[in-house]
């Protein structure tokens, strides 16, 4: 972390600094800056005022800021349950064996070059990604009604899709669940959509507020866009059942609400890729249209490589083709064409049946370890007689548990037990191990019994 900048009045700053700061204080707006510009001599080296003097420091990202704070803590028992990145039993990041294998294959292939990809990315990657999420036998794929473009992980896919909607769709409002991933609102707002919410999480049951969800979607204007977490809802881990998904689908189709799925955890929720795609496939089987943002950050452990795909399912092939051409116009002025490395790894794995199988086994192992952590934490709290019903820990799905702890309790846990998590009470189960579960259980027990 950078040291705090010394104030202008401190004796350690130079006279140039003080002169600069005095100037800045006099200037109210950038236009005033330009009016005070003086014809300097070409070699004066005087540091004129910046047109960005008025820019203030942005607050730390709440999620990523947790890791920053964790890194600063010298305690040997500290635990990082902030960012949703998988960790092994030893608390280490994991690169899947099959990913290493794929990387080596790419490295050894001397015929590979680094030429620009097409704007929409690697064709094979796009095709395989669509098959992965919609099913290889999906009618939408068979009928060429899907356009898939490679994007920068889930975030990038959401942003490109949202920009397209803001330009071409008649409804500019997207409904997002309450709560949702912290970055969702900004992605949609910057893309030009306005954001509303629908009820989702019920704090009293720590489950789904299904009644509220149906009411809110039911009263949304016809044609509104609705963001749906395909599985393993972030941050709550609360997913609708299949029956509930069917009701949601019927409601949405009856109101012509446009589904925009965020699929960041396929395979991570249940351990089974097809099962975790059920919600999306329902919305494709009924012949309707939808958007899907896919991420390989978690399920292939490719976090920093930024691999993802945006798919748009249309009712006709020629429409899908036109949509693709317009998606290209969104992408070109944003990043021109996507990065090659991560998507090449994914394509290598998905197209080889042996590697694909290896992947599903490693993926299931990650999902199983998380499920096991849930069970261990639940048992540990029960063993301590911690007051309250903690069954939501084993009922919730995916990487996160919405503990139900309030921000005061979270603060207490950080202060006294060096547990780092977001203030909404969300913990990343991936950050736990058999060794650290007891410490977390102690912390929760203390927080619940000593702080309310």
């Amino acid at each position: 972390m950078r040291p705090e900048f010394t104030s202008p009045s401190s004796s350690s700053s130079s006279s140039a600094d003080r002169r600069l700061n005095a100037l800045v204080r006099h200037l109210a707006t950038p236009s005033m800056v330009s009016q005070t510009a003086v014809a300097f001599s070409p070699t004066s080296g005087f540091h004129g005022d910046s047109v960005f003097s008025h820019v203030v420091r942005a607050p730390e990202d709440p999620i990523l800021g947790v890791t920053v704070a964790y890194n600063k803590d010298p305690s040997p028992v500290k635990l990082n349950l902030g960012v949703g990145a998988y960790r092994t039993e030893e608390g280490k990041p994991l690169v899947l064996n099959v990913v290493r294998k794929a990387e080596q294959m790419l490295l050894n292939d001397k015929s590979r070059v680094k030429e620009y990809l097409p704007i929409v990315g690697i064709a094979e990657f796009n095709k395989l990604s669509a098959q992965l999420i919609f099913g290889a036998d999906s009618p939408a794929i068979r009928e060429n009604r899907v356009t898939t473009v490679q994007c920068l992980s889930g975030t990038g896919s959401l942003r490109v899709g949202a920009e397209f909607l803001a330009r071409h769709y008649h409804q500019k409002t997207i409904y997002i669940p309450q709560p949702t991933w912290g970055n969702h609102p900004k992605v949609f707002t910057l893309a030009g959509l306005s954001v509303k919410t629908y009820r989702y999480y019920d704090p009293t049951t720590r489950g789904l507020n299904f009644q509220g969800l149906l009411e809110d979607l039911g009263s949304a204007p016809s044609g509104s866009i609705v963001l749906l977490h395909a599985c393993a809802h972030n941050p709550t881990g609360v997913d609708p059942t299949l029956q509930q998904w069917e009701q949601i689908r019927q409601l949405m189709r009856s109101k012509a609400l446009l589904p925009f799925f965020d699929s960041a955890y396929q395979g991570f929720a249940s351990g089974n890729l097809d099962e975790d795609a059920q919600s999306i496939r329902m919305f494709v089987t009924d012949g309707g249209e939808c958007f899907v943002a896919q991420s390989y950050a978690k399920n292939m452990g490719l976090y920093g490589e930024r691999v993802g795909a945006l798919s748009v399912v249309c009712t006709a092939a020629d429409v899908a083709s036109k949509v693709e051409s317009q998606l290209k116009l969104v992408i070109r002025p944003m990043f021109s064409n996507p990065p090659i490395h991560g998507a090449s790894i994914v394509a290598t794995i998905l197209k080889d049946s042996n590697m694909f199988n290896e992947w599903t086994i490693e993926l299931k192992a990650m999902a199983d370890r998380i499920i096991s952590m849930r069970k261990q934490l639940f048992d540990a709290l029960r063993a301590r007689g911690t007051p309250g019903d903690w069954s939501h820990i084993i009922k919730q799905i995916g990487m996160f548990t919405f503990t139900g702890l309030n921000s005061k309790q979270v603060e207490f846990m950080t202060r006294e037990y060096h547990i780092y998590m977001t203030s909404d009470g969300r913990i990343s189960m991936a950050g736990l191990s058999s060794k650290t579960v007891p410490h977390l259980a102690d912390a929760i027990h203390a927080a619940v019994t000593r702080m309310t």
Partner: protein, 422 residues
């Protein structure tokens, strides 16, 4: 429970029925977008079956066999990286190491500005991403500002600032009659622009014309931009590629820094490290002091987060591996010079061939211009003839990517150009 149904004819059409194929699409009225003028050229080239076909369209380097090149230093860096890597998220601002090394290239190895921490800098998605981040930042923090863009420029510049919703104006740059710089008109435009306007400048090897101001001209440009309190934003996509010497190619930027401008720079490793598809670049903004730089960087990150969260790690690792190892860095500098020299050689050869054919026109601009591109002066009609009759592919503005010219095709290319211009 009761579910309200909206009563409208359109909604009735879309009542949910399994297999409702009669549903009309929401996207039926979406128009097919026009093909990208630059990238569309390569698509057409690939589709052409002729054995004589020549691609002088996209600005991607080719060796003398017309093959794409992966630099040796890059291959070595990749070998070192593979297997060592965990693939954790980079910070929103990208690889700190990569950014540090990248700033040295632009601002100078021993730059005081770097030591004083006055530069707000983030890893970006190559040059495009750096320009776009800056345009978004400009829109957010100087909402009343506009950007002045040279005529001509890389086509995507217009798209970028348009999508960022920053109003655009143009300034004179290319002088068709001399196939050089329209310096007087450019200075006039700088003087006539409202105080505090933003100017987009190509740091070296102007794309598409290859026409760069001389050092003296840069000094005058700097003087007038300063007099008007304009903001200078440099797009530097070809450092090292223009003259073969990265320090020399950064001269314009260094002049502006000496003169005290608070510039912004978009840097790309697509061409000079051959990392095209890795999408590695850097956006930097020079600030008054460290505190400002911290603030500006944090705001750039706020714009990156809802666009892609954090930038890709692989390409950044390649860059930082090369630049932080003195031997690899030396090797890189050698390889960049080889690329630049080959292009300079092809300029000489193309001009020589045209003159040998007895062309009535002057072709000295081919060797006057610098960098990857030559603005040939060919009309769109002449370009179409080159494509249709000779299977030569280039953008319709007459821009020739010299990187696509080889000892194997330079004669054929010269002949064809002579045919359509004699």
């Amino acid at each position: 429970m009761a579910i309200r149904r909206a009563m409208s004819g359109r909604i009735m059409d879309r009542t949910a029925v399994v297999g409702a194929r009669y549903m009309s699409s929401w996207w039926r009225s979406v128009q097919p977008a026009p093909k990208d003028p630059i990238l569309g050229v390569t698509e057409a080239f690939l589709a052409d079956q002729s054995p004589d076909k020549v691609n002088v369209g996209v600005g991607a380097y080719r060796d003398d066999n017309g093959k794409p090149v992966v630099l040796e230093c890059v291959r070595e860096a990749e070998r070192r990286i593979a297997g060592n890597l965990n693939m954790e998220y980079l910070p929103m601002g990208g690889s700190v190491k990569m950014v540090e090394e990248t700033l040295k290239l632009a601002y100078g190895e021993n730059s005081e500005l770097i030591k004083e921490k006055r530069i707000a800098a983030v890893q970006a998605l190559s040059g495009t991403g750096a320009c776009r981040l800056f345009a978004d930042f400009q829109k957010r923090f100087c909402p009343d500002s506009q950007i002045y863009i040279p005529v001509p420029t890389w086509a995507n510049h217009h798209n970028i600032w348009r999508d960022a919703q920053v109003p655009q104006k143009t300034y004179h740059y290319y002088h068709p009659e001399s196939k050089g710089l329209d310096f007087a008109a450019m200075i006039d435009d700088i003087k006539n622009a409202p105080n505090g306007s933003f100017f987009l400048l190509h740091a070296c090897a102007h794309n598409p014309t290859g026409v760069d101001p001389s050092e003296e001209q840069w000094r005058e440009i700097s003087h007038h931009i300063k007099a008007k309190g304009h903001f200078a934003f440099f797009d530097m996509a070809y450092q090292g590629f223009a003259s073969g010497d990265p320090e020399k190619d950064a001269k314009a930027i260094r002049i502006f820094l000496e003169d005290g401008h608070h510039i912004g720079i978009a840097q790309s490793y697509a061409k000079n490290m051959g990392l095209y598809s890795q999408r590695v670049g850097c956006l930097s903004v020079l600030c008054e002091d460290e505190k400002q730089a911290v603030a500006v960087k944090s705001q750039l990150q706020q714009l990156a987060r809802p666009m892609y969260s954090n930038p890709p790690v692989h390409g950044a690792l390649i860059v930082s591996t090369i630049l932080s190892d003195p031997d690899l860095k030396k090797q890189w500098l050698k390889e960049v010079k080889v690329m630049a020299d080959r292009i300079i050689g092809m300029r000489t050869a193309l001009r020589g061939n045209l003159e040998k054919l007895g062309s009535p026109l002057s072709w000295q601009h081919i060797t006057n211009q610098i960098g990857m591109f030559c603005y040939s002066g060919l009309t769109p009609e002449q370009v179409d003839r080159l494509t249709n009759e000779f299977h030569i592919y280039m953008t319709r503005n007459g821009r020739i990517s010299m990187a696509g010219v080889t000892t194997g095709n330079v004669e054929y290319l010269a002949n064809a150009i002579h045919e359509v211009t004699k």
